[in-house]
């Protein structure tokens, strides 16, 4: 007997359906018998009963499924068999989860012998807590349902009540966004502070040596500058050198020159570039672009060309960003009033003179905002750099050399086998915090620019 949240949710949903039917039947019966007019239509009475039946029980279910594993573990730890467990750390966790897996039937037999005596206490405890939980949940559901059912009277304002609950539901749904933001900020801050107790923030931000090792923190191995440089080199320099001219010129061509039929077909084609998953770009960069670039570098006589190069990752990332830049430029150019364009053409300027000297200067703030957003997206991109840029922290301006980025290092730090409390693991969260803050600032500035400029013309 284990605690199966999905099945229980279905159970109370079924009970709620019965409640709905009962509430509806009761209210129409009352209306028929007393000859009185119902304030709300019968289905609202039904909804009232169903909501009272479902909501408290579902809330309890959510809380219980979050809390009960901890309670079960505590009971097991208090039992006789847990006395011989190692005090702390990774091994203890592994033994416990091994026993849990066997007890819940997810695994046929224990993999670690030390877990064997814990299986029975685990099974017993989860059995007990599952029954306690189910009993409490059913009691809550029935109590809620009965309470709502007894309140059904012809003049009961069921619709108003139900609508209040619906509004509450809508509010809660929109609060999820705030909750997520807080979750991100808190989890990043919390783990970063633990990291900054071991390594000073100044070292992470201004140190020049990046060579984290497992175990105790060694001084001067968490210098972030090489990562920041690699990120800027790939995301803000190489990718933008590819994306800005191609994206801008595509936007200009598609808005000013191409006939509408061509535009209707070409634009979605360009957008496919943005829809290709990044892991595909990464594979393409690593398998096709990087070796070709290496051969090219060797041909023109660059000595230490590597197959993992900043250039390969940057170029492919730039291509990925083209549709992004071009649609932002497209919007800004379209927002320039037609009168300005007509005026320039009427003075005898050719279309390209109009575009270069009137449209683009007028659209520039919007284009700049778009470019900042593109940069923010490029520095947060992970898979392409993980697969094609390499993992060695180099401070080099040579685009054929291998460099590493913030995102690639986050992945590297978190995918090894290590305990969760080492400085190495916590460093990933500190890097995540830096990345979050930088992209947030870029986005805020970019949106400001775009918004301000829009107001100037409309």
């Amino acid at each position: 007997m284990t605690f199966n949240a999905a099945a229980l949710l279905l159970l109370i949903a079924g009970l709620a359906l019965i409640g709905w039917l009962a509430g509806r039947a009761r209210s129409s019966m009352l209306a028929g018998r007393a000859g009185a007019k119902l304030h709300s239509r019968p289905q609202y009475h039904g909804w009232y009963v169903a909501l009272w039946l479902f909501a408290p029980a579902a809330l309890f279910l959510a809380v219980w499924s979050a809390v009960s594993p901890g309670l079960v573990t505590n009971t097991v730890l208090a039992s006789e068999a847990a006395k011989e467990l190692p005090a702390f750390g990774f091994e203890r966790g592994a033994i416990l989860s091994d026993a849990r897996n066997v007890a819940t039937g997810r695994q046929a037999a224990v993999r670690i012998p030390a877990a064997a005596p814990l299986v029975k206490p685990y099974a017993d405890a989860s059995h007990t807590y599952a029954w306690v939980g189910i009993a409490a949940m059913l009691a809550l559901a029935l109590a809620g349902g009965l309470y709502a059912f007894t309140r059904i009277k012809p003049d009961f304002r069921a619709r108003t009540r139900v609508e209040k609950i619906v509004m509450l539901l809508l509010l809660v749904a929109s609060l999820v966004a705030i909750l997520t933001t807080f979750g991100i900020v808190l989890s990043l801050l919390f783990e970063s502070i633990r990291f900054f107790r071991l390594v000073s923030p100044a070292e992470l931000l201004f140190g020049t040596n990046w060579a984290p090792t497992s175990g105790a923190p060694v001084k001067d191995t968490f210098g972030g500058i090489p990562l920041f440089w690699g990120t800027v080199l790939i995301g803000a320099i190489i990718a933008m050198i590819v994306a800005i001219p191609i994206g801008m010129m595509s936007a200009v061509y598609l808005t000013q020159y191409a006939n509408p039929r061509v535009r209707r077909w070409v634009k979605p084609c360009l957008e496919i570039l943005a829809g290709v998953p990044t892991v595909v770009y990464g594979y393409f960069a690593a398998l096709t672009v990087a070796p070709a670039l290496r051969e090219f570098a060797v041909m023109i006589g660059i000595p230490n060309a590597s197959t993992e190069s900043a250039l390969a990752a940057g170029i492919v990332m730039g291509v990925m960003i083209i549709p992004f830049v071009s649609s932002m430029a497209d919007d800004s150019i379209n927002a320039v009033p037609q009168a300005m364009r007509d005026g320039s053409l009427a003075l005898g300027a050719t279309p390209n003179e109009t575009i270069r000297q009137v449209l683009i200067p007028a659209a520039l703030p919007g284009v700049m905002g778009g470019i900042l957003l593109a940069v923010s997206r490029a520095i947060g991109e992970t898979m392409i750099v993980v697969m094609a840029a390499g993992l060695s922290a180099n401070m080099t301006a040579n685009p054929f050399a291998s460099v590493t980025t913030v995102t690639a290092q986050i992945v590297k730090l978190l995918t090894g086998d290590q305990e969760f409390d080492s400085a190495k693991t916590l460093a990933a969260f500190a890097l995540g915090l830096v990345l979050f803050v930088v992209t947030l600032l870029l986005n805020i500035v970019a949106l400001r620019i775009v918004k301000k400029y829009r107001e100037a013309y409309e």
Partner: protein, 418 residues
Amino acid sequence: MSDRTSPTDWKGGAMQGRIARRYAAERRFRLLGLGAVLLSGLFLAFLLFTMVGNGLRGFTYTNVEVPVDFKAMPLTVDASRLGDADADQVIAGAGLADIVAFAADEALGDGGSAMISENAWKEVRTAIKADPDLLKGATVFHLPTSSTVDIAAKEGAKGELGAKVDALERDGKLSTGIHWPFFKNADATDPAVAGIWGALKGSVLTILIAFLIAFPTGVLAALYLEEYAPKNRWTDLIEVSINNLAAVPSIIFGLLALAVFINWFGICQASALVGGLTLALMTMPVIVIASRNAIKSVPPSIRDAALGVGASPVQVVFHHVLPLALPGILTGTIIGMARALGETAPLLLIGMRAFIGDVPSGVCSPATVLPMQIFLWSDEVDRGFVEKTSAAIIVLLIVLLSMNALAIYLRNKFEKRW
């Protein structure tokens, strides 16, 4: 003004030259624009061409004829036990693998057993289970070759192996067929039996969970913000955080999931459940923004009319606004889901990187997703995995492009101009 300039001499050589230069610049600029569009198109074509070129071969596999004579090498198995649940162990215990290897050596010459896949005997096992009468005589099986032979047959090879493969081809012993294990199996270390079914099922489970959480939450939040929310500091905060969440790098969501879902709440690691929750948080802002636009485009006259005949504000929204906005909402949701389906980075952090040899059985069992399978295979040293990777990419791209096409179709079909 006394010094009147003479009128412009439009026909003069200097002016004509200038105009010609300006027109030439115009043509160059136009060509530059066209070039930029073509360059992007070319890159897309090159990308797709490379993937399809590499990947199509991943859907087929080279088989070789191996006659197995069970009369000469009897497999001592009680035929009545072949229907039992433990038939696999019984056959393996009787030494079928050795018999098949011996037969291959005999048929293909020295080193023949190395030319068939190390899992080839399992095909024979399946055949025997389906028809126990095979054990009484000699049968010619078409067994999958080893990965190196498969590549040699597809691409041609030099040296001893190349000569052997050429000889087999001349004798007509090689055949190529659709590689069903690729669609039916989960990951494996042997490219001859590695497949995408496990990852595909993991992807479907993950996306389903993400949809079930993100869609209702996103739509309800959009309804609240667009229809009811008062203009105050709190709703501003909600709005700003939704817009920011839409622009947060995806890997940050991975860090959030690792810290909150796995380390604080202890939800089953590396499972479709955690993956779905993570992707739901990522897609929710996208759905909110798309839904708000769809809701905004429903004209106020409809709300006024409904209010006028006595509907309550909640009835106005749920009976009139929401049904009219639904096509737009669905379009945005499908696009958001397609993006989530192609996402790898956040899932990498929550442990979905591990090798998973089984098809996931539930939302809490270890699972992998299609993009992650591509990432894992791209790291394999075995040459046989190169075409597997590209084949998996083709499958992923087909799924994603058809989702996007569906979104465009829905938009065109249901788009209303009010």
